[in-house]
Amino acid sequence: MEARIGMSKRPSGKLESRWTVVEGRSVHARAGVPAQTDGGSMPLVLVHGIGVSSRYMVPTIERLAPHYRVYAPDLPGFGRSYKPPRALNIGELADSLAAWMEAAGLRSAALLANSFGCQVVAELAVRHPERIEKAVLQGPTVDPAARTARQQIWRLLRNATTDPPSHALNIARDYRECGTRRLLGTVRYMLEDRIEEKLPRVRVPALVVRGARDPIVPQRWAEEVSALLPGGRLVVVPGAGHTMTYAAPLELARVVRPFLEETHADEERLS
């Protein structure tokens, strides 16, 4: 590491683990400890992708914690949260996310999701619209043009070449925690889900973020997603891949912050 005196603005946010009891079972979340945030600002909830946990959200939490109250829960079955006996489908995951928000004292929040997390957030917006104020969908799955396990695995492998090698470690740890049976069960639910049918019902301002090198979310699909969202728009980040929350947190924070801070002027046309 070279000396960075006076130059590098490294994220200053600290993190803590929080345990919330939801319907008798404990859900784990990583949360930013805001130093200078005014407590009244809209909370931000980060939703992780398939098989993984809030672990790879840490760089993004660190970037955003100085500005927002940031929470990144582990969905039930993943990370350090309780393990239901079987894999939960997308509806159940959305319901448990809403239940966690309730238990954690978040009446509503902006939701930022990566990959499969976007499917959970779209479902949440349909089932519990009162919980969501804004949506950021980074690398939303599943592209209907590649809705088979083989195509998705092939794209996932191609993506591994764009992610930093350390992310492989995140994946290995998290997959071990959730277990193969749950992972495969969730993959089946992921492939069955039709996010394109729910997007038109997500009636909040929405930002779709695509890494220009993301092999899992081609440009055409990203454009389709933002067109299907009534309040959607698309930002493409050059050089970034599928896992921006881990590999390109600075760029993600830079495009997300102006969106989150926009006034609600253009929300009326959505209702």
Partner: protein, 343 residues
Amino acid sequence: MARKTRDSVVVITGASSGIGRATALAFAEKGASVVLAARRAEALQEVATECRTLGGRALVAPTDVTDEEDVEELARRAVENFGRIDVWVNNAAVTLFGRFEETPSEVYRRVFETNLFGYIHGARGGFPYFREQGSGVLINVSSVVAGAGQPYTSAYVASKFAIRGLSECLRQELILDGARDIHVCNVMPASMDTLLFQHAANYTGRAPKALNPVYSAEKVAGAIVRCARRPKREVVVGSAGRMLAAQHTLSPGLYERAAARVMDRDHFQDRAAPPTEGNLFVPMPGWTGASGGWKTNGGGSARKALLAGAGVAVPVLLGWRWLRDGRASKNGIVARAASWRPG
């Protein structure tokens, strides 16, 4: 470590015509995302369309570089749309022809507002993002006249000298900061086939033209793209420029006497021109291409003579210096070797 051009975000000021336009197209051709800044929105739209056709992403950001807040907004928009700024090309420039005493003060000042303060605003706009990223390349398009003056364009020349000085100072501050992946490059084109002369303010009574030999804007664009990839402190574009710079270094007195007469004869056409503010205060409609149509101009025999003179003088002077220095250093080595004692 420079990013691949395909993955980089490039902000270019003065992108509506000339070097800026050619640079935008050159980056777009390599798949870069370009942010196009200039005063004329319609001209930028044209360039953006061309960039997209070439396979790049393009964002149009009408900007007046003399306005610091405008330039901050430019940087903000670039980052909001693409998440980063990898290369910032300070390029927007104007020029003014006229004898020093005969040029209006406010027009003179305006040259510095655009050429120098425009670049300062650019550096201030891009640097905070470079610092946060820990990387970035600032490319200041200066001119070979940043190393050698000429008559009738003192405002332009002084602004270009200033830009060169600014670049060097910023580089040194970056050294002190240990910011090893933030670079400042000074690109010095020779006489260019651009619309600079059509856009010029002019109080000489004569219509100016580009000095021969002229080089294409694409040549500078190529040098800028290479600089973004592998940053260099200074790059001269056009061999005539390198030759003149060398001649100026070796015999500045002789250079000044010869250059003054050559410029007086060769920087103008044989026709009268009324006084004009050119595009300094209000952008001119039309005149949007990369080329200024100066390549077809013949003539320039005196300039050729100057170049030929340089061609002879440079090797002679270099040879003389080499002989002199060689002998001196040889003596030095002999003397040091003789006085050396082990131990």
